[in-house]
């Protein structure tokens, strides 16, 4: 993928223009998100409840399977699932967003980034719903209403920014390279095992703990768990690293998308 040697100023200007275009199309954004929610829940009575039921059921299975091996609580596993699902599902769905909306993109002018962005926003809505069963369980097992709870929206924003950055990269890549989807699927699987979703951090021997430290989702998950339970200590460095990863990935994704966005329509 070669690029023209673009003047940096022009590139920055184009990037910023794209942001203002997305804001100009905010009604469309609102529409895409509400359409997604409506279509998802319209047909099924269970639809609305499924968002909450699904992570619960997965958690149940994992808990039954692993509870003798790992000494982890129900809340630990559920929180891991909720956070991991946000990242994996939103990025996987956003990956195909340009291709799925190819007829629109080819017929009407649109700031294309709006598609992956709407996926992330929808995922944030689902995330909020899936917190309900979590809080129900927490109130049963004894929720500690500490001020750390305020970290929850912060974590959500960080994961959303990070996911959006990743989404911009994979969605753009897929347009040019069709096998991106399969490579990403496999990568996600490996990534999940490198994140302490259903196993405690402690079982990983010290010399391998660097794997966690290179994994942005580790920071988000740790902070999320720290917000919910006093057993997990809150470490400000984790918040900071998480934040850094979010911003850097968002910038990298934004640059990558903007550099290639004019060529996208030719490959759809």
């Amino acid at each position: 993928m070669e690029g023209r040697p673009a003047a940096n100023k022009e590139e920055m200007y184009n990037s910023l223009k794209e942001v203002s275009e997305i804001l100009r199309y905010k009604e469309l954004l609102r529409n895409l998100v509400s359409t997604d929610i409506k279509v998802r829940y319209k047909r099924s009575v269970l639809g609305f409840i499924w968002v909450m039921l699904n992570p619960l059921l997965i958690m149940l299975v994992l808990y039954i399977v692993f509870s003798t091996l790992f000494k982890v609580s129900v809340v630990y596993i559920l929180s891991g699932i909720i956070v991991w699902n946000f990242f994996s599902q939103s990025t996987s769905t956003a990956l195909g967003s340009f291709i799925n909306n190819s007829n629109l993109i080819k017929k009407v002018y649109l700031p294309k980034a709006i598609f992956p962005l709407s996926v992330i926003l929808s995922a944030m809505v689902n995330f909020a719903f899936s917190l309900i069963p979590l809080f129900i369980i927490l109130s049963i097992t004894g929720l500690n209403f500490s001020p750390y709870l305020l970290l929850l929206p912060v974590v959500l924003i960080m994961i959303a920014l990070f996911s959006f950055g990743v989404s911009l990269i994979v969605s753009t890549l897929t347009v040019f390279f069709h096998d991106t989807k399969y490579i990403y699927e496999v990568s996600l699987l490996a990534w999940m095992y490198m994140t302490p979703v259903f196993y405690p951090e402690s079982i990983i021997p010290g010399k391998f703990s660097f794997i966690f430290h290179l994994n942005p989702n580790y920071y988000y998950l740790s902070t999320f768990r720290a917000a919910l339970s006093p057993e997990v200590p809150f470490m400000p460095e984790k918040l900071l690293y998480g934040f850094l990863f979010s911003i850097l990935t968002l910038i990298a994704g934004w640059i990558f998308y903007n550099r290639n966005r004019d060529r996208i329509v030719y490959y759809l």
Binding site: T35, V39, L104, V108, Y109, Y266
Partner: protein
């Protein structure tokens, strides 16, 4: 005075047809590692197009299939970015390149109006204000509360046209969609386009119907192989094109 609505200056556009384009990431990496270069073949869809359209003008674009008419419209609409040249557009564009872009069959007519209008760049307030007129023009009545999948293709087209023309653009781009619908609907479309002309809306019109071109357009341009073959008033250009089709070129 600045009544120049569209200025197309030396615009060229190419499609890159890679002979052995690496369609997969795997191939791409392997190639890079092997130091192979990809053979590209460029298809120039538009070549050095220079065109100016003034406010209130209705410009017709004609030419054989593959000449670049739709491509040129897409450049003006901002969908395709030319590799060379400059495009300057003064005002809001409503493209009638595909009616009902983004229509979702699961949603009802009203929801699709909001969705489609948003795709065309309208704000919620603007859509609220126009909803009544859209409904009226489409003549869909109570069907507006039924899901789109229950509509006939004519109904879908009517809805799409109603929405697109309520956008209230400065520049209207029409790409061969006027052939949709029955006589009654076509007359309504005609009347609406005429009212746009009266209001001073600039129109770019692509059609294969020479009658429509002569009837609706002041000026016309004939494209061939991505270049402007002839430009002038619509009767002249239609003449030129028809003659060239019959193998008799001036």
């Amino acid at each position: 005075m600045n009544d120049l609505m569209i200025k197309i200056d030396g615009v060229s556009l190419k499609y890159r047809l890679a002979r052995e384009r690496p369609g997969t990431l795997q191939e791409f990496i392997v190639r890079r590692l092997k130091g192979k270069r990809v053979n590209y073949e460029d298809f120039w869809a538009l070549r050095d197009i220079n065109l100016e359209v003034r406010k209130g003008e209705t410009l017709g674009l004609i030419g054989p299939n593959g000449a670049g008419k739709s491509t040129l419209l897409k450049v003006v609409a901002g969908i395709l970015i030319p590799v060379q040249g400059e495009l300057a557009v003064n005002g809001k564009i409503a493209p009638l390149i595909e009616l009902g872009a983004g229509f979702n069959a699961e949603l009802i007519g009203k929801e699709n109006i909001y969705l489609n209008s948003a795709i065309l760049g309208l704000s919620r307030k603007e859509i609220d204000g126009r909803f009544g007129r859209i409904l009226e023009f489409s003549e869909l009545g109570e069907f507006i509360y039924s899901p789109l999948k229950s509509y006939s293709s004519g109904m879908v087209a009517r809805l799409g046209f109603s929405i697109a023309t309520e956008v209230d653009p400065d520049i209207l781009i029409i790409d061969e969609i006027l052939s949709v619908g029955d006589e009654h609907f076509r007359n309504k479309c005609d009347a609406r386009i005429k009212s746009f002309k009266e209001r001073g809306v600039t129109i770019l019109f692509v059609s294969h119907s020479m009658n429509d071109i002569k009837r609706l357009c002041d000026r016309a341009v004939c494209l061939e192989h991505g270049k402007i073959a002839f430009e002038g008033n619509s009767a002249e250009v239609v003449d030129f094109y028809v003659k060239s089709l019959n193998g008799d070129r001036r």
